[in-house]
């Protein structure tokens, strides 16, 4: 696997080197099923479904190149929080760590909220290493889950009864987590102006914005991508002028079933980027659209 390493000069002529040394394992299983459950003159029901399981592991990153040992840092940040008050510091959320899947949440653990002594609350960061709390990489942080879904499902169901038909597309993803940076930011009452916060924020009264696993949530969801209902209007007297007449109603992004508390669980969860696994104030919510269609064939 190719990777760009930082190398020393000399012996190398330039300080970075793309070398084919590391290795990564990808394995998975994809199953697709299509069944016609019912087929009569008046009625027809088709179900198509697929599910794919994917597993990824970064096996090694480094080795010997032309007699020189080269390697990457043990903890490499991939995605971090951003925005006012979140620039730099301990705001790294998603990491690339050898021996783990690409894109894991490597975070301090929060035991919940504790009083800050001034009437507010702060995140109670656990002392995992037992030698005092430190948010440094390799100290009080642990691997809290992965950003990429372990399973992705998709299904299309179509049903017809006489001249009426209905078609539904359902998508889903399971086994991954989402870091709710939006809630971390806007549940913080120690923000200016303090009226630009979430509805629950004044009551919860958190006055802290330390990135811990407190706002790491399960990202599992099922989304009803679209539903289309159609009616092929029977033509009796006007068949001479019009061949077919079809009326449709489509709703896209009908509903999402999820335990995730943010606006949408459909964020950047599959590609390696600086927003992988992060819901960080930057996601524009998906719109639900209603479409009414009339199709006339002369």
């Amino acid at each position: 696997m190719l990777y760009m390493y930082n190398v020393s000069v000399p012996p190398f002529t330039y300080n970075t080197l793309v070398a084919n040394i590391g290795s990564m394992r990808n394995c998975g299983l994809e199953v697709a099923v299509g069944v016609t459950l019912l087929k009569t003159e008046d009625m027809e029901l088709n179900i198509n479904a697929n599910i794919s399981f994917q597993r990824n592991k970064l096996l090694s990153l480094g080795g010997t190149y032309n007699g020189e040992h080269i390697g990457a840092s043990e903890y490499k940040s991939m995605a971090s929080l951003d925005g006012a008050g979140f620039h730099g510091g301990y705001n790294h959320i998603v990491y690339q760590i050898v021996g783990q899947p690409l894109g894991v949440f490597y975070l301090p653990h929060s035991n919940g909220l504790s009083s800050d002594g001034y009437g507010g609350y702060k995140y109670d960061v656990a002392d995992l290493s037992g030698n005092g709390v430190s948010l440094e990489d390799g100290e009080d942080r642990y691997i809290a889950g992965q950003a990429v879904p372990k399973a992705v499902v998709g299904s299309n169901i179509s049903f017809r009864y006489k001249a009426f038909d209905l078609s539904i597309q359902i998508n889903g993803a399971f086994g991954h987590k989402i870091y709710n940076g939006t809630a971390l930011t806007y549940m913080n009452m120690h923000i200016f102006p303090d009226y630009n916060v979430m509805a629950d924020a004044p009551q919860t009264n958190i006055k802290d914005q330390t990135a811990t696993d407190y706002w790491l949530e399960r990202g599992d969801y099922i989304n009803f991508d679209y539903v289309t209902a159609g009616w092929n209007i029977p033509l009796r007297g006007i068949k001479k002028y019009i061949q077919t007449l079809r009326l449709t109603v489509t709703v896209t992004n009908l509903a999402t079933i999820t335990g995730y508390s943010g606006i949408t669980p459909m964020i950047s969860s599959s590609t390696v980027s600086n927003t992988l696994g992060l819901d960080d104030k930057r996601n524009y919510p998906l719109a639900r659209t209603y479409t009414l269609g009339l199709n006339i064939n002369f």
């Binding site: 930082n6 300080n15 840092s73 903890y75 929080l81 006012a84 008050g85 979140f86 620039h87 730099g88 510091g89 301990y90 705001n91 430190s134 948010l135 440094e136 990489d137 100290e139 930011t185 913080n188 120690h190 923000i191 200016f192 303090d194 914005q209 330390t210 990135a211």
Partner: protein, 126 residues
């Protein structure tokens, strides 16, 4: 006799080819200053040593430059002392505890600003 003639012939060819090579290895620099020429006069000395440092005063991103862009050498030298303190305004400027970490001397080996400044230093002016 025939063998000698071949050897002499080869030697002659070798000598000729060596002589013909000597010319084009000579450098005729038109777009730069040769090593010795760089510091010949007082103004050359100034331009090529002191003045060129001004190219590296600033930078294009965080943690670069001799004087330092944001989170560069100036910030690292100043906010780690009692000379200055970076207060937070509400949650703004908290920045993951970065400024507090500098003031309290709690930065670690993976501190972005220190790593980036170090890389910038070694790449540009070392």
């Amino acid at each position: 006799m025939k063998k000698d003639r071949i050897i002499h012939g080869l030697l002659a060819v070798c000598c000729l080819s060596l002589f013909s090579c000597s010319g084009f290895l000579k450098e005729d620099v038109r777009d730069g200053i040769e090593g010795e020429g760089a510091y010949r006069t007082l103004s050359d000395l100034y331009l090529n040593s002191v003045a060129s440092l001004y190219n590296h005063v600033g930078g294009y991103a965080d943690s670069q430059g001799l004087q330092g862009t944001g989170r560069g050498i100036y910030d690292l030298n100043t906010f780690t002392t009692d000379e200055a303190i970076m207060p937070t305004r509400g949650g703004d400027w908290y920045d993951g505890g970065f400024w507090q970490g500098l003031y309290l001397h709690q930065w670690g080996v993976n501190n972005d600003a220190i790593v980036l400044w170090f890389i910038s230093y070694w790449q540009n002016w070392h």
